[in-house]
Symmetry: C2
Subunit: 139 residues, 2 copies
Amino acid sequence: MQQLSVITLGTDDLARSQAFYRDGFGWTPVFENEEIAFYQMNGFVLGTWLTSELARDSRRADLHRPGAFALAHNVGSEEEVDELIGRLVEAGGRLLRAADASPHGGYRGYVANPDDHAWEIAYNPAWSIDADGHVTFGI
Amino acid sequence: MQQLSVITLGTDDLARSQAFYRDGFGWTPVFENEEIAFYQMNGFVLGTWLTSELARDSRRADLHRPGAFALAHNVGSEEEVDELIGRLVEAGGRLLRAADASPHGGYRGYVANPDDHAWEIAYNPAWSIDADGHVTFGI
């Protein structure tokens, strides 16, 4: 099955990370302790884990930032893109790219979270999002 | 809503990346062109995009690997963990950690894909996966 269960992002400061998700996105962990927080997402779980623990668990000494990846959160309009980017920056994010039109339609900008992971905030009318937040690819 | 739409992984060789997902995981893109492939996943979309394009789009010149993150794919038994790790390595992955018992229950190992992104392959009986592949956090 084309499926994954967890996205784990390394963090160097769990409290700072949680402030970004709480005050920026408005999200609440389903579980948290002194080294990890899990957020229940749309069909999978997002984890934020101390980078040192992630490195130890995955047997890698050399985790770098920014990594060659990005996460995208889609919203319902261009106005919501601008509003959310503003909240994320107030919550400790750093603007990478102010939102503008995408060459393939829609509108998007990028914010780095406090651990320098890239979040794209996008309005993409071709991609449907159902009431449970599940996203289907579209053109 | 606690939700994301896309995980985008940078790749330096799209054909090599697609061989890993096709021959290792058994996945088929829902869309592909010369710079990107999209896979429809459990409630979101996985994209593999030329690293140079991801860097340009997100206005970053300096994307590094391995990044401080990991993705996890859960399966139904310890035997399936070992089998899938074997297939992923045959399909161009590199073993980071042979599977063993997790301190919090379950069983897991790690494989780096050809672009050095970490995939954890896990059996975690506490996390339910429904018929559509949607995962719910559990302890």
